[in-house]
Each structure stands twice: as C-alpha cells, then as structure tokens.
C-alpha cells in the first residue's frame, strides 16, 4: 500500500469517504438489531475501500449504479446521509420518500442512478448510461458496481458483450466478497478470477486488492481514462471481504448452521480497509492523530443526527402512493 502517485488531498478524501461509510453502516447495524428498521439491510462494512477508491476517481458528472448492498456506493458518490437514513426508516424525508428503502436508494443529482435489488439487474442499465454518454458525445463515464454472484447472471455476459461491441464508456466493478449470500463464490464458478471473463468479451480484466483504496483508485483512474478516450469498457474485480453477514439478522435464516471459512474470516479482519488506511495515514503522518479523531467524531456526530432526524420524520402520507406515477 503506497500513495506516491496520489495527491494528499485525494488520500484524505478517500479516508473520509471510507470513514463516513463505516460509521453510517455501524449505526444501521445497531438500529437493525434494536428492531428499529423495517425490511432487510445488507451492510458494506469491510468493502468500503472499493466504493471510496472508485468514486474518488470519478467526477460529479460520472454516474454509478449500485446493488442491494448499496449504502457505501451512495455515500462514496457524495450522498446525503440524512436522506439515506430517513429512507432506511421508510420516512417521507428519505431519498425516495420511503418508496424505495435500503435496496433502492438513488440520487440522480449526484449521478447515483439507483441501487438495484435484483442481482445483476444493474449491469444493463449501466450500459445504457454509457450508451447515452457515447450517443451525446459526452465525457461522462458509467460505473456499475455488482458482486461475484452477479457475474454468474446472464445479464453480466450480455452487458459486457454489448458494452464491448459498441466500445461504450462503462467500468464494470465486480466486488468479489467471496460469498453469494451463503454460498462460497468458489463453489459457484470454476475459475479463481472473475476478471478472466473479460477476455471472452475482448476487454481488459484486472484484479485489484479491494482492501487497498489506493490500488482501487489507481486501476479505476486508468479505466476512466481508457473509457473517456473512447477505447471502451474495463472489468475490475476487487477482491474484498464483508465483515458481517449477507444481511443483518441472517442468523434467523441460518438456524444454527455456519458457512464462513475461518481463514477467510481472519483475513477479512486483517484486511479491514479502514484499519489499514487509518494505520497508513497515521504512520505516514498524513494527518495528526488529533485531527483524525476530530474527523471521526464529526462524522459520528453527523450520523447520530441523521438517525435522530430520521426517527423524528413523518411516515409518508398515504396519498403519496398515487404520486410519482405516469407523467
């Protein structure tokens, strides 16, 4: 892990994005365990360096598409944690006025074109976002986040091929967190690296360390440059780990059974992206310890305020069911 080629303000920017995701997700996990959140939540803890590294390499005009595990992507793209938290509570003040929920947060104003709850469902839409940039001769790049599970969906293959044949400015970011729900990724495919599949579509496929935000930033920046130059899409496979389960409260589904490999759990702990980056920033004296603490407490405070605001927000009015329909 090194940042020689990355400006200090970018390092700090990435650090803040990771920290904001972590504190938000910790709060969400707690709220879920306390029974305060409806529905399911899929936390991004352990994978933060991917969203942060990727989004730090994008402009505000570039767009992203996300997954059921999407909170981190929204925050990394610059989303408002107050509106996110309110959406998780199903409140009228949420990003989607309580009609979307955890798996369907979007912020079109910042190029966050939506989280998609269907595994693999976002890839074709991201191709369309890239197509619109190509069509309009825009510099915009479209990024699609998806997991290892989505790489086994037909939509993955159709989308990579379509983006490749039209040389569209799309970056496919596969977050391989080692499990599709409870099934190890290695049991669901007969290859080690999903990135190898890129060759089948005539595009570059790269493996990157998902715990190293600098490496993610670097490979994304190169893919962005390639896309803007009209050279077409790239597949980036970020090897990552989720610290928690597939979904919070998954014990209920597991009924006493286990699925995590102990060595993988230990690796996930050792390769915690926040821990690694925190150590790096401290050891390299990029920011003094007291400033790091202030940063953390400011973010923690902002998250607490978001929770409070969400809790005190009104439920959506029933009339809103008949709003946001056909124009």
């Amino acid at each position: 892990m090194h940042h020689q080629d990355i400006a200090v303000d970018v390092v700090l920017d990435i650090y803040q994005r990771i920290l904001r995701i972590r504190r938000f997700e910790e709060a969400v996990g707690l709220l879920f365990r306390q029974g305060q959140l409806p529905g399911f939540v899929h936390l991004y803890i352990g994978e933060e360096a991917v969203a942060a590294g990727v989004c730090a390499a994008l402009t505000d005009e570039d767009t992203i598409i996300s997954t059921h595990r999407g909170h981190g992507h929204v925050i990394a793209k610059g989303g408002d944690i107050k509106r996110m938290m309110a959406e998780l509570f199903g409140k009228a003040t949420g990003y989607c006025k309580g009609k979307g929920g955890s798996m369907h947060i979007a912020d079109f104003d910042i190029g966050m074109l939506g989280a998609i709850g269907i595994v693999g469902g976002g890839l074709p839409i991201a191709v369309g976002a890239g197509l619109s940039a190509w069509y309009s001769n825009s510099n915009r790049v479209s990024v699609c986040f998806f997991g290892d599970g989505a790489a086994n969906e037909g939509s993955f293959h159709e989308s990579l091929n379509l983006a490749s044949t039209l040389a569209l400015p799309v970056i496919f970011v596969c977050e391989n967190n080692q499990y599709g729900e409870f099934t190890p990724a290695q049991n669901a495919m007969n290859i080690t690296d999903i990135a190898d599949r890129a060759a089948g579509y005539g595009i570059p496929g790269l493996v990157a360390d998902g715990a190293d935000a600098f490496e993610i930033y670097r490979v994304t920046a190169a893919a962005v440059e390639r896309a803007r130059a009209g050279a077409g899409p790239t597949l980036i496979e970020a090897k990552t780990h989720r610290r928690g389960g597939h979904a919070e409260g998954e014990e209920a589904f597991l009924a006493g059974q286990t699925y995590r490999d102990e060595a993988e759990t230990a690796e996930a702990q050792a390769k915690d992206p926040l821990l690694l980056l925190h150590n790096y920033v401290s050891e390299n004296k990029i920011l003094p310890a007291n400033q790091l603490e202030t940063l953390d407490s400011n973010i923690t405070q902002a998250v607490a305020e978001a929770v409070e605001a969400a809790r005190n927000s009104p439920d959506p009015a029933l009339e809103s069911l008949f709003e946001d329909l056909w124009l």
Partner: protein, 324 residues
C-alpha cells in the same frame, strides 16, 4: 389521405419522430436490415449511431434502453417477437415500470419497446404467442396494440413522445393491411378506444388482429338481425373503461374477444370490470372468447383452431342473445 400499409405507417412514424427529435434512436437486433420491414431504410437516413444493431441480448438491450432513457434520451428498443420479451422480463417488470415510483419521482423512463405479438404466421410456440396480458399486469407499463395503419402511426408517435415506458405491440398478420393515413401530422392519444362498428344489441370488445375477427363476426350477425358494436381498445394499459362501460350501458351484452391464453387474459380483466361496474344493466352473463388453453401449435390447421375465430365470436354472441 393515402392508403398505406401497416408496415409503411410504422416506418413513417419512426422516421418522422427521429427527424423531429435528435434524442430519439432505435436499437435492436438487425434493425439496420429490418427483419420486419418497419425499420428498413432508417439506417440509410439516420446512420449507425441512431439505428444501432445490437447483439441478440434482449435483457441487456432492454436494460440499456432504460439506462439511456433515464439519462435524457428517448430510445426505441425493437425486441422483434413478443416471446423474446420474456428474456427481458427483469428489466421491464423490475426496473422500467417501477423506477420512477421506487426512486420517489427522481427520474422517468421515456422508453418504447416494440415487438410483434401473437400468431398468424405458423411459426410455432416460440414465435406465435400473444404476450400483452403479462404487461397489463405490471404497474406503470403502458401497452398499446393498434390494429390499423392509421392507429398504428398515430399511437406509435404518441408512444415515442410519452415520458413513460410504453410497449408497442404490432402484428405480422396486419403488416399488409391498408387504411387511409392522413398526410398531415397527427397523434392518437394512448388510452382512447375506437368504435370500429356501431351497434345496439351487443358490445364486442377486442384489440389487435382480433378486431378483424370481431368485425367479420359482426357482419354475419347483422344478417341475422343482431347489431354488434365493435370496440377496438387500441391501448391495453391504460384502457378506455369509459368507452366500454358506455357501450354496455347501451347494449346490455358484453363479449370480450382476445388472443390470450384464457387464464388472466386481457378479456378476463375487461369482463370482470364490466361485471363489477354495470351488472344491473347486463341482460346476460359476460362472455370471453380467447385462445384454447394449449401451447401454440405449428400446423396452420391447428393454429387456426387455437385462435379466437369468427364462429367462436358468433357463438358467444348467441349465448348472450339467449337471455332476453
């Protein structure tokens, strides 16, 4: 006015809208060559960026249409056969129709999906099913299925200008049909039925190619002294309940003719609506005439037997006339 074929009318609608609005483009498998001739010639005029040949990837192409639509373009995605829409189901059912609502009104999806729907060319089960009823069941997908060149042109132009996802279903069996198409620009609003034949004794409600079946049956019935009113819904979602209920209020008899498999057919929805809304004005139970409940066969003799035919419509009307 000039008499034009259905295919020519669709071609005109596409070309006119592409000339009018640079955000409108067409993509799909072989749209350049034009397997169905309605897209033929557009590539020569508009080029490869606006008439985009794609791989055979219905799911990705439909989804790419959505992605382009939410980014300000107005894509027309040609998926060729209605049955191929099954391959794109996720993008249509989970994404296109829901996005605007699901994201709290932050976006809208001005997308047109085109496909040929239903039987008539003896192509077997995979190329002959009518699929419109599935999409009527999906919230916020508009579905149009015009039966004449005039309606086809006016409705397709409205669909392209619509700010919501619209499924435009045409039929190979209607490709050569001719009608008077106005020279001047015109639009036909989505959701408005057309009474193709006025009558006082029974209301026959239908859509697409079976409009001609119903009209044929009405002609025979007229010779018996039964005057059928034939309503061509033209749009299936939203559909013109008002026109149907007004007609039934007048005739007191209702026959729904629909090229769907019987369970949860479009006809089921129309019949239920009529039975709920104007029960006291009905002189006889509502009747449905649909496909037989079997997969689509290949043999022309068998295919004809599966589809609603004039004799089936006449028999259904006779049933309603038995109550008087």
């Amino acid at each position: 006015m000039a008499r034009k074929t259905y295919v020519a009318a669709i071609q005109e609608a596409l070309a006119e809208e592409m000339r009018r609005d640079p955000r409108v483009f067409l993509m799909g498998e072989d749209v350049r060559i034009g397997v169905f001739p309605s897209t033929r010639g557009l590539h020569a005029e508009f080029g490869g960026k606006r008439v985009i040949d794609t791989p055979i990837s219905e799911l990705a192409v439909a989804g790419a249409g959505i992605g382009a639509a939410v980014n300000g373009l107005r894509p027309i995605v040609d998926l060729m056969f209605g049955t191929f829409l099954y391959l794109a189901f996720d993008q249509i059912a989970n994404q296109a129709g829901a996005m605007r609502f699901m994201y709290g009104g932050q976006t809208n999806v001005p997308l047109v999906l085109m496909a040929q729907n239903g039987a008539g060319s003896s192509a077997g089960h995979h190329h002959s099913q009518a699929v419109h009823q599935f999409f009527m069941n999906m919230p916020q997908i508009k579905v149009i299925m015009p039966s004449t060149p005039t309606d086809g042109k006016g409705l397709l132009k409205s669909a392209i200008r619509d700010d919501n996802p619209v499924l435009f279903l045409h039929s190979l069996s209607l490709g050569g049909k001719r009608s008077d198409v106005p020279e001047n620009e015109y639009l036909i609003p989505i959701g408005e039925a057309d009474i193709k034949r006025a009558g006082s004794d029974v209301t026959i409600c239908t859509v697409g190619p079976t409009v001609y079946t119903a009209l044929g049956a009405a002609k025979t019935l007229s010779r018996e002294g039964i005057e059928a009113e034939v309503i061509d819904l033209r749009s299936l979602s939203p559909w013109d309940k008002g026109a149907v209920l007004d007609s039934v209020a007048k005739t007191g008899r209702f026959v729904a003719v629909d090229e769907s498999f019987p369970s949860c057919s479009a006809a089921s929805e129309w019949a239920a609506t009529v039975a709920e809304a104007v029960f006291s004005q009905l002189k006889a139970p509502v009747q449905r005439v649909t496909n037989k409940d079997v997969p689509m066969p290949f043999s022309p003799a068998l295919e004809k037997a599966v589809l609603p035919g004039e004799a089936d419509v006449i028999a259904a009307v006779h049933k309603t006339m038995a109550y008087s």
